[in-house]
């Protein structure tokens, strides 16, 4: 089955088994290796991608469901200014994410920052509970997210974003 969709802002077309996992298609057919596969059950959060700007576990998404929709992976997001803000904020707060959960967490954080302009702890817990990696402590992660939130708000006020 031929499936057409927007992948990282570019029109993509692929002829695959429609029931293949989206994560496998992204990795094997498009070579987008930042999408990690781990539990294959949608529980660990390593394979998170943005489907129409909503974070979803790509390992449980059959590829036919992305037809005519937009998929963003870290490769597509890492050229944006928001990515730089998130990356720098996490680094400043001492949060060193491992490369296995990196993409999932970054995309979830991006979605969180887009959704709320003012963040509280519960919203952060809620958003990040879908990622099970233990490479970092929650304290510094939370600090990093709040810092990113602050930076984005400031830039928005100054009209730079």
């Amino acid at each position: 089955m031929i499936i057409r969709f927007i992948l990282n802002s570019v029109e993509a077309e692929i002829d695959v088994n429609p029931h293949s996992r989206l994560s496998s298609v992204l990795r094997d057919n498009f070579g987008l290796l930042s999408t990690k596969e781990s539990c294959y059950n949608g529980e660990c959060g390593s394979c998170t991608v943005l489907l129409d700007d909503e974070p979803v576990p790509a390992c449980v998404i059959p590829v036919f469901t992305v037809k005519n929709r937009s998929v963003v992976t870290l490769e597509g997001f890492e050229n944006t200014e928001n990515y730089e803000i998130i990356r720098k904020s996490l680094k400043t707060s001492g949060c060193n994410l491992c490369r296995y959960c990196y993409q999932g967490r970054i995309l979830v954080i991006h979605h969180l920052l887009q959704k709320y302009s003012e963040l509280n702890d519960n919203e952060i817990f809620e958003a990040l509970s879908g990622n099970r990696c233990e490479c970092t402590d929650f304290k510094s992660l939370k600090k990093g997210i709040k810092l990113a939130n602050l930076t984005i708000n400031r830039k928005k006020k100054a009209g730079k974003l």
């Binding site: 059950n41 529980e43 660990c44 001492g94 491992c98 490479c135 402590d137 929650f138 304290k139």
Partner: protein, 699 residues
């Protein structure tokens, strides 16, 4: 081409013509493989590899314990690998899988339960004694001098401890004309290389090991990568094509090494607050292939008897073989659990004696005169005592007590406990304190000749390249390495590269977990950079130097110390536990990187809490993990941490699994105070609490 700072996990590698492989595992706990019917290999779509196909040694060796690469005749645990199925497509995989019909005669599994124990299960038994200690192996309690004093007895039964990995566990083997290349994640690449060479019956020179990226610290993955790599290597050797063998989450969780439970009984005779005599009975569930390492058991004795003054300690240790997956060195060999039970026991003694836990601990920490005797001697080594550092212990106890307002709260909750029948409330509160030390850093005697090694190359652009086959606990260590080298050589950290750990590029190096890890390697890196600095202005660039540090030269008497206070309250109707606050204080010498140590402590605390409360379990019937809300709840707990350095001014000591044992020890003490009954098991679930309370009420 060498990819600098590029992180590719084992699952990210792809090679042209690569085949996939899975292990076919047994579905029974114990038995004998009598017959087997394999599907015909009419085409080349799949290949089934059995034990007979292994060209070299059929076992991998780890400290004298042999673990079969593929089971041949005897099956010792559920999930033991029987065959490797190599396939090129899912269809062929399914055909091969459906065609395998093993004829297995089941035997009764070996159990760890006391009443089901068989004589032949006890693979190792030893009596340890210290001081004036009675070497009475029968543990006769009727000794004359103690008849008047009633001993305090405590039992504890721990639960399994897993190390959770985010990235898949696996290996890729790529055969070439010179031999074979292995891509895997291991903290002991040299062991992988040796195991693969032995399995293929080729020279070690023909095996190249490339360490792929890792996410969480390796812990249990000491010898297991050697097993997976050997399986992948045999498959690649036979098929002549690259083979990728990746374990599923279900396999990783259920069939890879972990720490099994143990049973411990502490029996202590106490008079006027002094420990007169201590008897310890310890049964360790050693899994299907027990690791018998004498030095480990000596360390276990040190851990089980603790750092409290007692001149008469005896311990009976039994290592019991069961039908469970083999053990590994996850947080030592039950070291953390043993500390938990000891601290729980000590807290119960203190409670009975009606003394302040802080004062009692300060007064009863081993004094310098006692440490000179024989307890803290590294087995087989020259007589060297381990520094008990009373000052450090007292200082951290003082800090943690003041920071948590421990004395006042303890007295108040103790009063509530004693008058519990009068004060029936919806919530009961408790506060617990634990003092512990980290003992898992000394390399074994058999490894004392091993060296940590590295190669430094300062290239013509003044970029520093670090080559080593020593793989650290996590990528965070690289920041410390870069900072250390950058400070000495005056090079920006962006110009320092840690090259992928490859056995062909870097000199052979000892395993990281056995070598005081970060502290040892940083010392080596400092030495290397200083040598490079000396040469820098005399020799033209590029300059290359190789440095090594013998494990024997690493200080053996550096123990990290820690103390923690846990304050909690429990709902008397639902038994839901709410942790109010955690306060910790550590003495782990000079802090190299504050953020990293904070991260280690914080992650250790969350890990400890999820372990105690059984927050994560794999369901037995489905290939999925079950997570309750506990972990999210833990994330919200206020945690206060403080570090002091009373040990050595500029020396760093690994903190290791200290948070794991400390928090659990304090948690149990607090829970016992809140509930008013002893909690002797893990995990602490509402069901278990109800069970214990029910039994106590019926008594």
């Amino acid at each position: 081409m060498i990819l600098k700072d590029k992180q590719l996990f084992v699952n990210d590698y792809y090679m042209p013509g690569m085949l996939n492989a899975v292990t076919y595992r047994t579905g029974i706990d114990k038995g004998i493989l009598q017959t087997v019917k394999l599907p015909p290999e009419t085409d080349k779509g799949y290949k089934i590899i059995t034990n007979n196909d292994i060209p070299g040694k059929k076992n991998i060796n780890f400290f004298g314990t042999s673990i079969p690469i593929l089971a041949d005749y005897e099956i010792n645990f559920r999930g033991e690998p029987l065959y490797i199925i190599v396939y090129d497509s899912e269809e062929n995989h399914k055909t091969a899988l459906d065609g395998i019909i093993p004829g297995i005669k089941a035997k009764p599994p070996l159990s760890f339960e006391k009443d089901k124990l068989e004589e032949n299960q006890i693979v190792y038994q030893k009596f340890f004694s210290f001081g004036s200690g009675s070497s009475d192996p029968l543990f006769n309690d009727e000794l004359e001098s103690y008849t008047a004093i009633i001993p305090v007895t405590d039992n504890f039964h721990s639960s399994e401890y897993h190390s959770r990995y985010c990235e898949p566990f696996g290996a890729i083997a790529q055969p070439d004309k010179n031999g074979i290349t292995i891509y895997t994640v291991s903290q002991w690449p040299e062991h992988v290389r040796k195991s693969v060479a032995d399995a293929l019956n080729i020279s070690q020179k023909n095996v190249k090991v490339i360490i792929t990226a890792l996410s969480t610290p390796l812990e249990g993955r000491i010898w297991y990568p050697s097993l997976i790599s050997s399986q992948a290597a045999v498959a690649a050797h036979i098929t002549g094509k690259p083979v990728k063998l990746i374990l599923s989450k279900y396999e990783t969780y259920n069939f890879t090494p972990r720490q099994h439970p143990f049973r411990i009984t502490h029996k202590t005779w106490v008079s006027k607050g002094k420990l007169l005599k201590m008897h310890i009975n310890l049964d360790i569930d050693a899994g299907a292939y027990p690791l018998i390492i004498e030095e480990l058991f000596e360390k276990t004795f040190i851990q089980a008897s603790g750092l409290y003054e007692c001149n008469d300690i005896t311990m009976k240790l039994r290592l019991i073989q069961t039908s469970k997956p083999p053990m590994s060195f996850i947080s030592g060999i039950n070291f953390s659990q043993i500390m938990i039970s000891l601290e729980k026991h000590i807290s119960n003694i203190i409670r009975q004696e009606k003394i302040s836990p802080v004062t009692w601990r300060k007064e009863n920490i081993l004094s310098d005169s006692i440490k000179k005797n024989s307890l803290f001697i590294i087995p087989g080594d020259d007589i060297k005592s381990i520094n008990s550092n009373r000052n450090s212990a007292s200082a951290i106890l003082e800090n943690v007590s003041k920071a948590s307002d421990f004395e006042r709260k303890y007295a108040s909750f103790e009063l509530l406990r004693l008058n519990k029948h009068k004060n029936i409330k919806t919530h009961s509160s408790g506060i617990g304190l634990a003092l512990s030390f980290f003992n898992n850093t000394i390399p074994f005697k058999s490894m004392i000749k091993d060296k940590l090694s590295l190669k430094l190359l300062l290239d013509s652009k003044s970029y520093l390249n670090i080559y080593t086959s020593t793989v650290p606990d996590g990528i965070h260590n690289y920041d410390i390495w870069k900072n250390t080298a950058g400070e000495i050589l005056g090079i920006p950290t962006d110009n320092i590269f840690i090259l992928p750990h490859q056995t062909d590029l870097a000199p052979p190096s000892a395993a990281y977990p056995f070598s005081k890890g970060l502290a040892g390697f940083t010392e080596l890196l400092k030495n290397g950079c200083q040598s490079l600095q000396k040469k820098r202005f005399r020799n033209p660039l590029p300059i290359e130097i190789t440095a090594s540090l013998s494990l024997n030269k690493l200080s053996k008497d550096d123990y990290a110390w820690g103390s923690a206070v846990v304050e909690l309250s429990i709902d008397n109707h639902t038994y839901e536990i709410e942790i109010k606050k955690i306060t910790c204080c550590f003495d782990c010498g000079h802090i190299m990187h504050k953020e990293i140590i904070d991260k280690t402590v914080y992650s250790g605390i969350i890990d400890s809490l999820s372990w105690i409360s059984g927050a994560e379990n794999m369901s037995t019937d489905k290939n999925r993990l079950i997570q309750n809300d506990n972990i999210r709840h833990f994330l919200n707990i206020p945690i206060y941490t403080e570090y002091i350095n009373n040990t050595k001014k500029n020396k760093s000591i690994s903190i290791g699994d200290l948070p794991l044992s400390l928090i659990a020890g304090a948690y149990y003490s607090a829970l016992i105070q809140a509930l008013g009954v002893d909690i002797d098991r893990m995990p602490v679930t509402p069901e278990n609490i109800h069970d214990i309370l029910y039994k106590n009420r019926s008594k």
